[in-house]
Assembly symmetry: C2
Homo-oligomer: 409 residues x 2
């Protein structure tokens, strides 16, 4: 690990200084390489799938699985990153003082970005592409379940780099998938400029607790949809069905439904009917009065199910809904379905999450959907980046000041 950290640090200045053309050529070469080596990647992925069988849910197995289509989509993703504008070297602000001192605020790469993630193999290529495009060296540390896939992908990406004169140490994969290696990255002071954990609550919390390097917590999404009493109920059903069932394994999927008591008797039976047997409902005492379902345990309102499960709670009004969200949300995405402008304003002003929706599905919280073109993850913290992190969020800035002898009086 020490060796990899040194190599990454040594590559920093070279990668930060690459032109947009050099980076884009390298990215396209990486995409070509992925397509060319599809078979090797699928073979490695088969090893991972074999190893995971029996101790992974179907939803999680699906996240791990690669197909020719998914590899093509990874390559396409890299080319899309290449096509985005270069986020580095932009003069963000410029100010010339009366004494002639010129102060420029210029965007620069972070340096070395470490990403600790779990089982989605496409994160490997996405993260490598985003890091390179933003002038950063990356150190990837995937989960052991996906190690063969990630290793094959990094080897293939490095083959692409080898066709350019960019050092392969721009993209690094940690070979050790034990806790030790994660901890080593979290505490690699002076080597890692930014740590991004992508994964479940356990990983994120371990990083927040143990990291001494700068860290951005991402992705844990206990997302709420609140159906206010004036809501268009048909719209509410469409949004809930989409937020819960279109892709339950992702962080912007709905996990908790809040419903105003005033409409619970009318709305909940329609909900039960709409979701059918596809979704297990975990109901609070009030909701149980109106529809059949599993009685909700206390934990059910603090769990990211990532599965076809929805916790349901009845609330008095928008104030109780917001108070419940404040106490239980991970700060990712929350939606209100309402036609009342007062309830809407109270909700958008007081819900302290990265994305606050009015009459739309939480599933839109995504770099691509938000128009950023790509995404390194969804920040659930307030520092530096909040919500979908695109290229810009992988840079910092410095002030470059030009004078001709100015001193401070």
């Amino acid at each position: 690990m020490k060796e990899m950290l040194e190599a990454a640090k040594a590559a920093k200045s070279r990668i930060a200084g690459l032109t947009a053309e050099e980076k884009n050529a390298a990215l396209n070469a990486m995409a070509d390489s992925l397509l060319m080596c599809e078979t090797a990647i699928l073979e490695a992925n088969a090893l991972d799938l074999e190893g995971a069988k029996g101790h992974m849910s179907d939803v999680m197995l699906d996240r791990l699985r690669l197909t020719p289509e998914r590899i093509a989509s990874m390559a396409k993703g890299i080319r899309e990153v290449a096509a985005l504008p270069d986020p580095v070297g932009l003069t963000l602000e410029s100010h010339t003082r009366q004494d002639g001192l010129k102060i420029d605020k210029v965007s620069v790469p972070m340096g070395v970005i470490a990403i600790i993630y779990e089982s989605r193999p496409n994160v490997t290529s996405d993260a490598a592409a985003l890091a390179l495009k933003s002038g950063n060296v990356c150190i990837l540390r995937g989960g052991k379940e996906a190690f063969h896939s990630a290793n094959a992908i990094v080897n293939v990406l490095r083959m692409g780099l080898q066709s350019t004169d960019i050092p392969v140490t721009a993209v690094n994969l940690v070979q050790d998938t034990s806790r030790d290696s994660a901890l080593a990255l979290m505490t690699a002071d002076g080597y890692v400029d930014l740590l991004i954990p992508r994964g479940g609550a356990g990983l994120i919390n371990a990083c927040v607790r143990n990291a001494t390097v700068p860290c951005i917590a991402t992705g844990t999404g206990i997302c709420h949809v609140y159906v206010e009493k004036t809501a268009d109920q048909e719209m509410a059903l469409n949004i809930i069905e989409n937020a819960k069932t279109s892709r339950p394994s992702v962080c912007n999927a709905e996990e908790v439904l809040l419903v105003d008591k005033a409409i619970a008797a009318e709305f909940l039976p329609k909900l039960r009917k709409r979701l059918g047997n596809k979704v297990e409902l975990r109901l609070d005492k009030e909701a149980e009065k109106y529809i059949p379902g599993t009685p909700a345990g206390e934990k059910d309102f603090d769990t990211e199910f990532l599965d076809y499960i929805l916790a349901v709670k009845c609330v008095e009004d928008v104030r109780e809904a917001v108070a419940h969200i404040s106490a239980h949300s991970t700060g990712h995405s929350e939606a209100i379905i309402t036609t009342d402008p007062v309830a809407e304003r109270y909700f958008t002003a007081n819900v302290d999450s990265a994305a606050v929706y009015v009459n739309a599905s939480t599933r839109f919280t995504d770099g691509g959907e938000f128009g950023l073109g790509c995404e390194m993850g969804i920040s659930t913290q307030k520092l530096h980046a909040r919500g979908p992190m695109g290229l810009r969020e992988l840079t910092t800035y410095k002030y470059i000041i030009h004078g001709n002898g100015q001193v401070r009086v």
Copy 2:
């Protein structure tokens, strides 16, 4: 402490929702109150000065001392903050998708900002004013040397608040100045949205190591001035004199001088003459050949002296200068004095600090001097804010998305 954290959290939503007019009226009332209660503040400060006598350097005693002029300047500082534009509620970006979904990125306060600082009493009023203006509740935890002063100032500021209908819990001072209270703030998960330590390396490191709440490291400044061989030497002398001696106790003061070997024999005697007996020079082996001074120990190149001491090292060229800075700098401010555009570009591209100067004094790294109007501290980290932190850096953003039933396909 628990009680104060709860009170701060409870005040968050009210303070975040204040209009610019309400905040400005409160700030002006706080400034009035400071002037009105000058005597009480000076009496409290006298207690602190009495307590500090004998175990504080003159430079540090000067930082602790209040005078009627300094109190007036604190009040003026608050009024200047009131006059700045409101950083909250700005639509930073707006994007309407083809499906009609409107995505607004809106600036919002952080929530509760905790500031742990040391002996400068004016930090108390500055921090309170900046926090309020940016819609944040603040929890101030000053050093024990300045406790009486800080307590008097906070009481006086709260008197000002009492003349408005803003809750006094907008501004809070921790009464316990032991390490325990600092540690409690660093780990107040769910209560403190941002921790800003302002002070020496010991404090900053303790925060970086122990904080589980989001934290911005500020202010440790081992600032370098590098005199490249083509430099205008008279300009270099002026800049060094300014950077070292105009205010040695502050973080943007120069601590280390790097000089090209090629000009050392000519330049160092001029430097010795210019700085006279006012500054102790700690010289590396090469510099010792040309001028008298104290032999530098290894630590002298990693110390923020905050005093009339300057470490001096001779280097081969700009590459060695940048390598030395990379290894020893705190990432605050560094300057090159040169007339060679190649050396200049190498220096500005490769020095990874918040502020990189060409032919100007490092003393300009300051919110006021940079045109931000004010400053909460100088960030030496890359995440969220780098360099002087003004009002904008005390806010975050959230996405507010308006739809009419959109779901993700």
